[in-house]
């Protein structure tokens, strides 16, 4: 049962394979599933709406070959080789997470196949000199900077920043950059502590954090600890003017889990339903718009996934990675990975996910912008950057006591 996508009408069209090791089981299975659907949507668009990839006088249909990497680094390597050697795939969508991407990189590099990272945010992947590895999502260093910009612009008085985050390489990269950026903006870091993975109780840390009397808190790491952090801030009634948490708030499950405690909590997201990326916006910037519009994307996503679950940013990232290959292949008019890699250096386009442009030197994403979301009255609003925003920031956020009285972060 090879998982492939077949389109019947044009039997003459040649098939071009994209390949992906996906985390369908294990700790990243949530993200893996979203990524798969996102890729399938993009491919569907390429084949059915766009009419396949036109390279010279040939038209290619794109098909996806994917396997489950079980979020396991040993499996990833085997799968990359299988994709490259047995399935003849030249365009690989990298596995989820920085670690797995790094594990896959030497094999891809040696086989000379392209690898496009849609789930590995760490900057250092792109500091290792892998020519064939490029990035679609914004790197870790960008995650919390937008939030700080926002705070500075709405409340120049807020000075005291507390950082409390999970101790892993990703969060460290995020907060190292955020800390430096905060100082540049004139903030003072009054608290900077980590907690290990798998904690059940942050009270000792929060005790200390409260004593530092911060104005704003930035923190988090993954889903579980992000939820725990907010839940315990509420338990211990630690009130600040704004909170931005990595990763967790971007998912609907965050609000489901925390209810009104989530009101006013912010978080960075690679993408969010409702962002104002579209053909108009592209035209303003003078670049191409490529791929489905947001409405098309949502519609096709529903078809592909067969659920009512809205796409998360993982889906959009993955779709954008697929689209970037397609766009670059058409630009290069070649399916040779070297030519395509060359073309990727020069392209700049917009998709449902936003702008795509890489640094030619490292392959790192530099075109795409993070957005900041905030939970307001039970919905996720985009509050930053102003160009993408669909709501004003609610600042300062309601206190925990106010929220218990039923106050929401709406005016």
């Amino acid at each position: 049962a090879q998982q492939e996508q077949k389109s019947e009408e044009t039997p003459k069209a040649e098939v071009l394979y994209f390949g992906a090791p996906l985390s369908l089981s294990g700790k990243y299975s949530k993200e893996g599933q979203m990524s798969l659907w996102g890729m399938q949507v993009a491919i569907k668009w390429i084949n059915e709406v766009h009419g396949g990839l036109k390279v010279g006088d040939k038209v290619y249909k794109v098909e996806l070959k994917y396997y489950d990497d079980q979020s396991n680094k040993e499996v990833v390597q085997s799968l990359i080789q299988k994709l490259a050697d047995q399935d003849g795939v030249k365009f690989i969508l990298a596995p989820y997470s920085s670690g797995l991407t790094l594990a896959a990189a030497p094999i891809a590099d040696q086989r000379g196949v392209l690898m496009n990272s849609h789930g590995g945010a760490s900057d250092y992947i792109f500091e290792q000199g892998y020519h064939y590895v490029v990035q679609t999502l914004s790197p870790a260093s960008k995650y919390q900077t937008g939030f700080l910009d926002m705070v500075k612009s709405v409340d120049p008085e807020a000075k005291r920043v507390a950082m409390i985050y999970e101790d892993n390489e990703f969060s460290r990269a995020v907060f190292k950059a955020a800390g430096e950026y905060a100082k540049q903006l004139g903030f003072e870091i009054v608290f900077d502590k980590t907690y290990p993975k798998g904690v059940q109780d942050l009270s000792p840390l929060l005790n200390e954090l409260a004593a530092a009397k911060p104005d704003v808190i930035i923190g988090g790491g993954h889903f579980a600890d992000g939820q725990l952090l907010v839940s315990q801030l509420a338990d211990m009634k630690i009130n600040v003017k704004a909170v931005s948490i990595l990763v967790a708030p971007a998912l609907p499950a965050f609000y489901d889990a925390l209810g009104t405690k989530a009101e006013g909590v912010c978080g960075p997201a690679q993408w969010e339903i409702g962002v104002s990326y579209g053909p108009e916006a592209a035209k303003k910037l003078g670049i191409d718009y490529y791929g489905p519009t947001q409405d098309e994307f949502l519609k096709m996503f529903k078809e592909v996934s067969g659920t009512d679950e809205p796409p998360s940013y993982h889906a959009a990232e993955a779709a954008a990675a697929v689209l970037s290959y397609a766009y670059a292949i058409e630009k290069a008019q070649s399916t040779n990975p070297d030519d395509v890699r060359e073309a990727m250096n020069t392209i700049e386009f917009m998709s449902v996910y936003g702008v795509w442009k890489i640094d030619p030197e490292t392959g790192k994403q530099i075109g795409h912008e993070m957005v900041i979301i905030q939970w307001q009255g039970g919905t996720k609003k985009i509050i930053w950057p102003p160009e993408a925003a669909n709501a004003d920031p609610y600042y300062p956020m309601p206190t925990w006591e106010e929220k218990e009285q039923g106050k929401l972060a709406t005016k």
Binding site: K30, D201, P204, N207, F223, A224
Partner: protein, 296 residues
């Protein structure tokens, strides 16, 4: 100030520790009677957490009321697993049961993922907050503590005072000997396993009372690891010892934070774990069978 922190951290540690304790008792019980090392332990905690979550989300049943439901559900689950798999391995080498429990754990997680998806879910059940000097703590956590302590006490009484409890001990010591006394050895095995799983699933409810968020099908791994350590600290096969050890472990983990926080240039939270494990090793060196363990 440091003193304040220490007091409140110890308080939080005690609450946490009681939950750790109950979340270990089932593991200890199963090991004690059947010599089965349940490496799938955490997946049963997870099942309990989801039980509380769904009962609350779908039927608004307060988590505290889910405790008996989870116990019964867990016992049923344990019963089925024992009859289907473990029964056949009672006489097999000890470690082969470890393979089986590993596979069962994986199976439960993946089945759960199939049914419940891989989201991180949670709920909030607010019943107010206790303010006590420097301590601010929601009543749900106090409730988790009280419930844990009562459960542990009841289990202790059951084990030491009832006939069935004694029969279990007899089976542990000599199976054939128990049979000639008229004890149904198979029933004791089934019962102990089912009850061990039941207590574990039930502890999942307590865990969610304590931490009502971050409930996920893969949440169990951390509990397995910690339960192992606590079970040994308390003396394997001694559920009561497990409870006390859990309590100490919680105190130690949170309490040492205050002190380690004073060392510059380190991550105190990670070091609390380090210190807790050093504590374990030291205890074992002094008393090689744990705090409350008999001879091995």
């Amino acid at each position: 100030m440091v003193g304040d922190h220490l007091v409140s951290n110890l308080f939080y540690g005690a609450l946490l520790g009681s939950v750790y304790g109950v979340a270990t008792m089932g593991l200890s019980m199963i090991f004690g009677v059947l010599r089965i090392v349940n490496v799938g332990h955490g997946s049963f905690v997870m099942v309990g957490a989801f039980t509380a979550f769904w009962l609350f989300t779908l039927y608004s049943i307060a988590p505290i009321l889910s405790i008996p439901v989870a116990l019964i559900f867990g016992i049923a689950l344990g019963f089925v697993i024992f009859q289907a798999v473990m029964k056949k391995l009672v006489d097999a080498p000890e470690l082969s049961t470890l393979l089986a429990t590993f596979a069962i754990g994986v199976f439960i997680e993946e089945t759960a993922k199939f049914i419940w998806g891989s989201d991180y879910v949670g709920f909030s059940w607010d019943i107010g907050t206790l303010y006590l000097g420097s301590i601010t703590v929601p009543y749900t956590k106090i409730l988790a503590f009280v419930a844990s302590t009562i459960i542990a006490g009841l289990l202790y009484l059951w084990f030491t005072k009832t006939k069935l409890g004694k029969a279990i001990k007899a089976v542990v010591e000599d199976r054939d000997g128990a049979a000639v006394c008229g004890i149904d050895v198979n029933r004791i095995f089934t019962l102990s396993f089912a009850l061990g799983i039941g207590v574990t699933v039930m502890s999942g409810v307590l865990v969610t009372l304590f931490v009502p968020v971050g409930i996920n099908v893969y949440m169990g791994a951390d509990y397995t690891l910690r339960a192992f350590v606590i079970a040994v600290l308390g003396g394997l096969g001694s559920p009561w010892g497990a409870f006390i050890a859990g309590f100490l472990f919680g105190l130690f983990e949170n309490g040492s934070y205050t002190l380690l926080g004073m060392i510059p240039g380190v991550e105190p939270f990670a070091l609390t774990r380090f210190v807790a494990f050093v504590f374990l090793l030291v205890i074992l060196l002094v008393k090689p069978t744990g705090l409350f363990g008999g001879e091995e």
